[in-house]
């Protein structure tokens, strides 16, 4: 794992994308996340908004942008459920911040590191969801860790395909 100084890495490797991509990719992830479980049923072990949030946070390497994007994606994800709005919002806000902070310090071009980050951040997101709903709010919400583990694996597999595709769409100077 190559580690550089935060300032120099940020200067050298901030990724830029067409403006439309910032709107379309998150929207597509939300739509597919809402539609695919109807097709796949109980085998929908993934969280596309989380994957997209982590991708842009890692690529942009800006904690503020990662935080704001995570908050928006999480709130929209919550808005599609019947739960209180903010549970996923808190989780993705923290995940976006952490991913962007790691992106400054870690060589995220390496696919293995990306997959490991996606896997760990997915579990971290699940942990925050449980903490928020059970500890902060006191809600009686059951969550199966095995399902969360499968979801983390699914996110990693999707990232294997999605990240190289999105990498091709970045603006190269």
């Amino acid at each position: 794992m190559s580690v550089l100084g935060a300032g120099s890495r940020r200067e050298l490797e901030i990724r830029r994308y067409p403006l439309l991509l910032y709107a379309l990719v998150p929207l597509a992830s939300l739509v597919l996340q809402a539609w695919l479980p109807r097709v796949l049923g109980r085998y929908a072990w993934f969280d596309l908004p989380l994957v997209v949030t982590i991708y842009f946070a890692l690529g942009r390497r800006s904690p503020i942008q990662g935080t704001v994007m995570g908050a928006i994606m999480g709130l929209l994800e919550d808005a599609l459920t019947h739960h209180a709005i903010g549970i996923n919002g808190v989780a993705l806000t923290v995940v976006g911040f952490v991913a962007a902070s790691l992106g400054v310090r870690v060589a995220v071009e390496n696919h293995t590191i990306r997959l490991a980050l996606i896997f760990l951040l997915s579990l971290f997101s699940s942990a925050i969801v449980i903490f928020t709903s059970r500890v902060l709010l006191g809600l009686d919400l059951d969550l199966h860790w095995f399902a969360e583990l499968l979801r983390a694996i699914g996110n990693s597999l999707i990232a294997m395909v999605l990240f190289p595709l999105l990498d091709r769409l970045q603006i190269r100077e």
């Binding site: 935080t67 806000t93 006191g138 009686d140």
Partner: protein, 403 residues
């Protein structure tokens, strides 16, 4: 100060966003009297607005994807189904004609049943009006088993309407937007419905568990509950009409929290994992279309004709009964009726007097006319002594041979 802000601006932004969301969450959760935290069943206007925005953002692409899928599937199915469609159409038309009359007849029976139930103060409800809708999207997470319909308040949908399929119940409408509606599936952890086991008549509350299975909770341990028993809606929750199929018992497990209670795991009747078309029960009051009203009138007319025919038959049988001889002689006083004569253990009714006695009449004295025909008897009544075995004379029985 400026340098401190720029130095910690990432953390400040993170902190601000987290605090704002946690405050928002705190306003959406309430604590019940038992000290249990629960989300507000009714969203505040701000929360509802966010949900509406999310729906406006997500629903159109979802609808487009769903329509594309439906169109592709329909095109293929139409190609496959073109064979013999005309004959099937004719058969179906005949069936529809027959069913329309039957439906009208059943509707009349249902209305009568309702009137009788109203008299008995029962609160059972009937399904009179449903709206077909497509499921176009879901929440995208297992923790919230909701899905979205492609119809909303523009089509008359309202919260707490029951959503069913032909197989069984599916859920209830939770939130309604102008063009979409959010449905809470029955296998969600926060859903609830009153159900009854069809055979053992045990009632319970249906809800979902973390695995998305249906389970009936709050039932005392009962050995009569066996796998395979059908479960129906009980009708007491003011959402689902009574008697709709819910599923069947898959297994019975002990309640982990309470020793004396059990949880009954169900296999749902409806395919909750792959819902496409559903029916929303929009009314439990009769709203008859002109065609249905006409069918109903036809049915009532048919039933009226049948009733008239039955009445005519009854009248004819009564007339016949009056004309037939009976054991009661209207000319005798009541105390002299033969039925009351205890001296004769088996009183026989006197033989009726013939209007035109012939040789076969008991006690008659047959005479043969010279031309071989029986002579007409006199109008005098036949005396009892003439009832000797005169008929034993064989020659009188064969007048043709002795001219």
């Amino acid at each position: 100060m400026e340098s401190a802000f720029s130095r910690y601006r990432n953390l400040i932004v993170l902190f601000a966003l987290l605090v704002a969301q946690i405050l928002g969450l705190a306003m959406q959760v309430r604590r019940t009297g038992e000290g249990i935290s629960t989300a507000n069943p009714k969203d505040a206007s701000g929360v509802r607005l966010i949900r509406l925005w999310a729906q406006l953002l997500v629903a159109p692409p979802e609808r487009a994807i769903h329509s594309t899928k439906i169109t592709a599937v329909e095109l293929w199915q139409n190609y496959i189904d073109l064979r013999q469609v005309r004959r099937q159409n004719q058969n179906l038309q005949d069936t529809i004609d027959r069913l329309r009359l039957e439906q009208a007849s059943l509707l009349e029976d249902a209305r009568q049943g309702q009137r009788l139930q109203a008299l008995l103060d029962f609160q059972h409800r009937y399904i009179y009006s449903t709206l077909a809708a497509q499921a176009i999207g879901s929440s995208g997470t297992d923790q919230s088993r909701v899905f979205y319909l492609d119809k909303g308040s523009n089509y008359g949908l309202k919260p707490d309407m029951a959503v069913i399929t032909a197989d069984g119940i599916v859920g209830k409408v939770r939130e309604v937007f102008p063009r979409t509606a959010q449905v809470l599936a029955i296998n969600d952890q926060t859903s609830g419905a009153g159900v009854i086991l069809a055979t053992t008549r045990i009632r319970g509350i249906l809800t979902g568990n973390a695995d998305g299975q249906l389970e009936i909770v709050g039932i005392l341990a009962d050995e009569r509950i066996k796998p395979g028993e059908k479960v129906l809606t009980a009708g007491g929750d003011l959402v689902f009409p009574r008697g709709l199929p819910v599923g069947e018992v898959e297994k019975v497990v002990r309640d982990p929290d309470r020793d004396a209670f059990i949880d009954v795991i169900l296999k749902p009747a409806a395919h909750l994992g792959s819902l496409d078309e559903v029916l929303v029960i929009t009314s439990t009051e009769p709203h008859l279309s002109p065609v249905q009203q006409q069918d109903l009138a036809t049915s009532e007319a048919v039933k009226g004709d049948e009733a008239e025919a039955i009445k005519d038959q009854l009248k004819a049988s009564e007339i016949m009964a009056e004309r037939l001889p009976g054991l009661i002689n209207p000319n005798l006083p009541p105390d002299q009726q033969p039925l009351l004569d205890t001296s004769k253990p088996n009183p026989a009714a006197p033989p009726p007097q013939p209007l035109h006695p012939d040789r076969f009449t008991p006690g008659a004295n047959p005479q043969t006319s010279p031309d071989g025909e029986d002579a007409p008897n006199s109008a005098a009544p036949v005396e009892p002594q003439s009832a000797k075995p005169q008929t034993a004379k064989p020659q009188t029985a064969k007048p043709e041979r002795n001219p």
